[in-house]
């Protein structure tokens, strides 16, 4: 795994009277233990990855408590784990990135929500509309509404997040309904502190076994006619129970303010941003005291009609701050107010944008408009001036910079084994012309950025093969589907490979065998190299000897499989070309093997350091470009895109264009040399070997070489 959570694991062990300092998502992890969970599962993905990673690394401690931790193969299997809470009084939590993960899990979620739960069940999802979001612009809220799952959206400070985790289990048990908690990306990564409690070892656990399986109960199955009763229970029993609990436990917060004739209803997760916007408008102070009364919805579904009506009654106007679209909450509030015959003017998406992240700047504009209409007594000028100032600032910046600065999207790491495959693919296109490329989720989707710009569709994790199923039937040239091993095991094996085999479909699938789910932090899959293989491989690729993927494909009946080592760019190019042009009708799989460089370097660094320390001979390899032969056309960069292959000013007074240059960050993967060879680029590239602690032979040969060269060398 990419990150070590040694310190965080210690923080999980804190007890009554201690203070936890750390990230929001790790506070959730701690809160789960304080709530006495029996089991935890999930599938990694930003921003909730750390919740699971830290638990996986803390296995020994989890075992001590009797808590079972499962790194699931996808969100569907994580959601299905919650079935344990249907029939047993055990608490459980699962986590994934929403909304994508919730889509994958939704089958299990529907059938979990139907019978409801006995033990508290919590689903922690990462949600975002902002700059860090790769999540599509949909809302977990919709899932909560359609399946009747309760949805928490806590204020983004650690004490509230922790309290809401604990209350979620109680809410879940009080209403026999699973609870979801959405956390925005910045809330997951927020650093703060809270006072901890002792962890609770669950009553039923891996250490306290349940001796007898639960009795058969048809009522607990999602199967008709039980499901008709479930539906009735949802709105007649569970929903009222949930609303009662929400009110009785004070889950939503009412912040009083002196302008009592107006108000703001805000999603809990937006509260801090809303308060900052109010502060900028001169309507709040730094401690969160607001002039405009606020109803903070730490539970955004269900709403409590009486609570909403009570808040709005006697107010002329209320502004709803609800991030994302459609405006589920605003619509619901409207309905509740109509029924309660409260005629408060309701604003929301009319003054605030329908989509996009609600930053303080965005909210300020909405508040400004709301003030102008309903807060005549307050001077709106300062708020307006601020907005104008920001606009002017941006204009000034744009002028000073002379236009926009270029984007810097994420890229393959230095030495990444996936880059050569795309370099090869670019070379293939020189022969075949433009190819249809079905792309997938994972590190390899960085190939959609410059200099590669590959990909015609991204449909979902492990879906690339399936998404070329129709295209391949009407394309003169075979399309290429690209998938990582993470995506392959998550979904691609079934939705892509088995479907192609069932339909005897033609097609080309490239599987990036790097050994890990690298994009989310190099979590393990079932084809991750064994510890032994890694030790044997040392600095070499440990995935070379790992054949689980090949064996699986063979076992399923794939006839055309080629495994190539990524760094042999010419070989990769030829194999790809062969797959595209082969007369063989049927699925052709190219397995591009090359272990994740992050893992390799992590293994290699200590080995290297140890060798140097022990005075053992060691060789460091890197590449270089000769400045005097480089013509500065940068085609090497267009084929590689390595961060260490860059440009620098030429020292030649006759040249004005910058020359290519390899920085010292080079790990010597050799791609640039390979590309220069395969693409017949230019003679400027060279490999440099640096020998530390040379042996006698190194020294003798070096001396001899230099002596003779010296005799012949011109100045």
């Amino acid at each position: 795994m990419e990150r070590s959570f040694h310190r965080e694991i210690e923080a999980l062990k804190l007890g009554q009277g201690d203070t936890f300092h750390g990230e929001g998502i790790l506070a959730v992890t701690k809160a789960l233990l304080q709530s006495g969970v029996t089991y935890v599962g999930g599938y990694q993905g930003s921003p909730i990855t750390h919740l699971l990673d830290v638990m996986v690394q803390a296995r020994d401690y989890m075992d001590e408590l009797g808590v079972h931790v499962e790194a699931c193969t996808n969100e569907s299997s994580a959601a299905a784990m919650l079935a344990a809470s249907i029939m047993y009084p055990v608490r459980g939590a699962v986590t994934w990135k929403s909304v994508v993960g919730t889509n994958v899990a939704s089958d299990a979620l529907s059938n979990l929500a139907s019978p409801g739960v006995m033990g508290g069940a919590l689903i922690v999802v990462g949600e975002d509309y902002g700059e860090g979001a790769s999540v599509i612009q949909e809302r977990t809220h919709a899932f909560a509404m359609k399946s009747a799952l309760w949805l928490m959206d806590p204020r983004p400070n650690l004490p509230t997040i922790v309290r809401m985790v604990e209350k979620s289990f109680e809410l879940s048990e009080a209403s026999n309904t699973p609870v979801m908690m959405e956390l925005r990306i910045r809330a997951c990564h927020v650093r703060g502190s809270f006072d901890t409690k002792d962890n609770i070892a669950p009553a039923i656990s891996t250490r306290q076994l349940q001796m007898q399986a639960a009795n058969f109960s048809y009522d607990r199955l999602s199967h008709p006619p039980a499901t008709f009763r479930h539906e009735k229970l949802k709105y007649e029993v569970r929903l009222p129970a949930a609303r009662r609990y929400i009110v009785d436990s004070g889950l939503n917060e009412h912040l009083p303010g002196r302008h009592e004739d107006v108000g703001i209803i805000v999603q809990g997760g937006l509260t801090n941003t809303a308060l900052r916007a109010l502060q900028l408008a001169g309507l709040a102070d730094g401690e969160g005291h607001t002039d405009v009364p606020m109803l903070v919805l730490n539970v955004v579904y269900p709403l409590v009609p009486e609570q909403i009506a009570d808040f709005c009654r006697n107010k002329r106007a209320v502004l709803v701050m609800e991030e994302g679209q459609p405006d589920f909450i605003e619509q619901e509030i409207n309905a509740h107010l109509r029924r309660a015959k409260v005629d408060t003017a309701l604003h929301g998406k009319d003054l605030l944008p329908m989509g996009g992240e609600y930053t303080a700047e965005v909210l300020l504009k909405g508040i400004e408009a709301f003030m102008a209409e309903h807060l005549e007594t307050v001077d709106v000028q300062p708020a307006r001036a601020l907005s104008t100032e920001v606009a002017q600032l941006r204009a000034q910046a744009s002028e000073a910079l002379g236009g926009g600065v270029p984007q810097r999207p994420p890229n393959f790491c230095v030495g990444c084994p996936e880059r050569p495959v795309f370099a090869a693919l670019k070379l293939v296109e020189r022969d075949t012309g433009k190819l249809h490329i079905s792309t997938d989720i994972g590190c390899h989707s960085f190939a959609t950025f410059e200099p590669f710009s590959f990909g015609n569709s991204i449909l979902g994790y492990g879906m690339s093969m399936a998404s070329s199923a129709a295209v391949k039937n009407f394309s003169a040239q075979r399309p290429v589907a690209i998938m990582g091993d993470g995506g392959f095991w998550h979904n691609g094996l079934l939705s892509g490979v088995s479907s192609a085999l069932l339909n005897q479909g033609d097609g080309v699938l490239v599987i990036m065998k790097n050994g890990y789910t690298s994009a989310t932090g190099t979590q393990e899959t079932i084809s991750t190299p064994e510890q032994e293989a890694k030790q044997l491989a040392e600095g070499n690729s440990a995935t070379a000897t790992e054949t689980t993927i090949e064996d699986t494909l063979k076992g399923m009946g794939v006839k055309w499989i080629r495994t190539v080592h990524n760094y042999r760019v010419a070989r990769v190019r030829d194999t790809l070309k062969e797959a595209i042009r082969s007369p063989f009708k049927g699925l052709k799989v190219v397995i591009a093997e090359g272990e994740c460089q992050l893992e390799r370097q992590r293994r290699l660094k200590p080995i290297r350091a140890r060798r140097l320390k022990e005075g053992l001979r060691s060789v460091r390899v890197r590449y270089g470009v000769d400045e005097d032969t480089c013509t500065g056309d940068h085609s090497c960069i267009r084929l590689s895109g390595c961060p260490t292959l860059t440009v620098k000013a030429s020292s030649d007074p006759l040249r004005r264009e910058p020359v290519a240059h390899v920085t010292n960050g080079c790990v010597g993967c050799g791609l640039c040399g390979e590309v220069a060879d395969a693409a017949v680029l230019c003679p400027s590239f060279h490999q440099i070997e640096v020998i530390s602690n040379p042996g006698w032979w190194d020294r003798v040969s070096d001396r001899l070489n230099r002596f003779f060269i010296g005799l012949l060398q011109p100045a």
Binding site: H21, R276, A400
Partner: protein, 520 residues
């Protein structure tokens, strides 16, 4: 938002994999150790792979007194106090997004990591670094730019340690350097290299060298080591001419009032330096000179203090060519009036006295002569007693008036310097019309008030053409200085000038958003 609870905000712009998260953790840890409320957030996501990424920290600069503060999770344009960027384009990106303004101390590396788009160009797709740096310098209140990459490699560390040192060196943290270093030490990995990188960046961020004359002045003043260190660090950031003026000015203010007062002076200098573009260099230097003089206006306390010093005694002695064994006596001739007395009284009392004196017609008349022999114990004690009033000075009537006018003048400078350096240069020289004591000073004040009302104020609200008003003020200033008797005042005054002897400057010139001095 009231300044007392406005959070201090730090934005970190970096590339994925550079350890921006570690840096954020370090800063949080420092704040926690100092007992300061703090919150940090980030959006690492997939940007971990060399893409642009950012981390955001909010904290209070003092421990929370009341309720815990509510911190926001993302930066608001125009509301970032400190921004550190590990690379020049990333600094520019933040400038582009509106996160850099006069409030911001921008600390950025000048080295470039080219984006793929720039690199893959057939010829030269690189952005002009001058332009990027220029934008950063133009918009930031203060820009500290140096090559962090060189330091990172030289010390075999990661850029996060260098960025940490740069922020500390730029003086943005409300805690001393040692706290940062202790946190690095306790972080456990690569400590030596991190510390080396931190230290190098700390020095680099302090930038430049202390001008020799300024350094000599500081050394000669025999300041406590910590203070000299602190001041030198501040001076380094400024041009040499400013350093000399600032060193002398700070020493003067220290001597005049106290350390905090000198600190205020340096902060005002800093604000002037920030406000003045290179074209306004003349205005800047002139303004700093006058700032020092103005802040150390001569009142009874100051005079008494200066006169009762041993150095003065020695000087008098040597000027009198007194030989060893000879006795020297010094007698002072004072003639204070009600206004001088009122000046050192607490504001309310002083105002009452002024009103009384005006009603009774004492003003300008009721002076009483005092001959004090400073060389006698009695006289000396009298002077020292007056000098001991020094701590009360900031509450005095005169101080209140001077300070108010001074702030208005500083705000005008900040407003005019970037817009019209020529006019700013004249305004910078405006305080020279206030000179001396007694009547001279009253005239000077009237002159100042007249020039302010007729030239500066219209220029601030933009009623007149800048070039024309610069010329007009230059001429008026020359004429005023050539008019020791103050005839111009009576000629111009619509109302008797003496009727408004004290409030001769508006509170905020032009009523616009021109930044005033940092502690205004």
């Amino acid at each position: 938002m009231s300044p007392s609870n406005a959070p201090f905000t730090i934005l970190i712009a970096a590339l994925g994999g550079e350890g921006g998260g570690v840096l954020a953790d370090w800063i949080v840890e420092c704040a926690v150790r100092q007992g300061l409320p703090v919150q940090a957030t980030s959006v690492p996501g997939v940007a971990q792979r060399t893409g642009a990424t950012s981390y955001y920290i909010e904290m209070l600069r003092q421990p929370a007194t009341g309720a815990a503060p509510v911190f926001a999770l993302s930066p608001v344009p125009g509301n970032v106090d400190a921004l550190v960027a590990s690379e020049l384009l990333e600094a520019a990106r933040m400038v582009e997004r509106g996160f850099v303004n006069a409030r911001t101390t921008l600390v950025a590396s000048t080295h470039r990591v080219y984006t793929t788009l720039e690199k893959m160009h057939m010829a030269d797709g690189r952005h002009d670094p001058q332009r990027l740096a220029g934008a950063a310098q133009a918009l930031a209140g203060r820009a500290v730019l140096f090559d962090m990459d060189v330091l990172t490699r030289r010390h075999g560390t990661v850029v996060s340690a260098v960025m940490f040192g740069a922020l500390a060196g730029a003086g943005v943290f409300p805690w001393p350097r040692e706290v940062c270093e202790a946190v690095i030490k306790d972080s456990g990995r690569g400590v030596q290299a991190s510390l080396a990188g931190f230290g190098a960046a700390f020095d680099a961020a302090q930038g430049g060298v202390v001008d020799a004359e300024a350094a000599a002045a500081l050394t000669a003043a025999e300041l406590p080591q910590a203070l000299r260190h602190d001041w030198s660090a501040r001076l380094k950031a400024w041009p040499e001419a400013v350093q000399r003026l600032a060193a002398h000015g700070a020493l003067r203010c220290l001597d005049y009032q106290n350390r905090a007062y000198a600190q205020t002076f340096l902060e005002r200098v800093d604000a002037l330096v920030r406000a003045c573009p290179p074209e306004a260099e003349v205005a800047r230097d002139e303004a700093i000179r006058h700032l020092a003089l103005w802040m150390c206006y001569e009142d009874v306390i100051r005079v008494a203090d200066l006169k009762s010093r041993a150095s003065r005694f020695a000087r008098v002695r040597s000027e009198a060519e007194a030989r060893p064994g000879e006795i020297v006596r010094i007698t002072e001739h004072f003639k204070p009036g009600p206004d001088e007395v009122a000046a050192v009284l607490p504001r309310a009392l002083g105002e009452a006295l002024v009103r009384l004196a005006e009603r009774r017609g004492w003003m300008g008349k009721a002076h009483f002569g005092l001959h004090i022999r400073t060389s006698s114990l009695w006289g000396f004690l009298m002077l020292r007693t007056l000098a001991w009033l020094r701590p009360l000075r900031p509450r005095s009537l005169r101080f209140a008036h001077e300070d108010e006018a001074l702030r208005a003048w500083l705000a005008a400078m900040a407003h005019l310097a970037p817009r019209t350096p020529r006019l700013a240069a004249s305004v910078a020289g405006l305080p020279q019309v206030i000179k001396g004591y007694g009547d001279t000073q009253v005239r000077g004040r009237q002159n100042y008030a007249r020039l302010w009302a007729t030239h500066v104020k219209p220029a601030l609200v933009g009623e007149v053409d800048d070039a024309a008003s610069a010329l007009a003020l230059e001429q008026a200033l020359r004429a005023t200085l050539a008019d020791p008797e103050g005839t111009l005042n009576t000629a111009h005054a619509r109302t008797p000038a003496a009727a408004q002897p004290i409030f001769w400057a508006p509170r905020r010139p032009g009523g616009d958003a021109a930044p005033s001095s940092p502690n205004a």
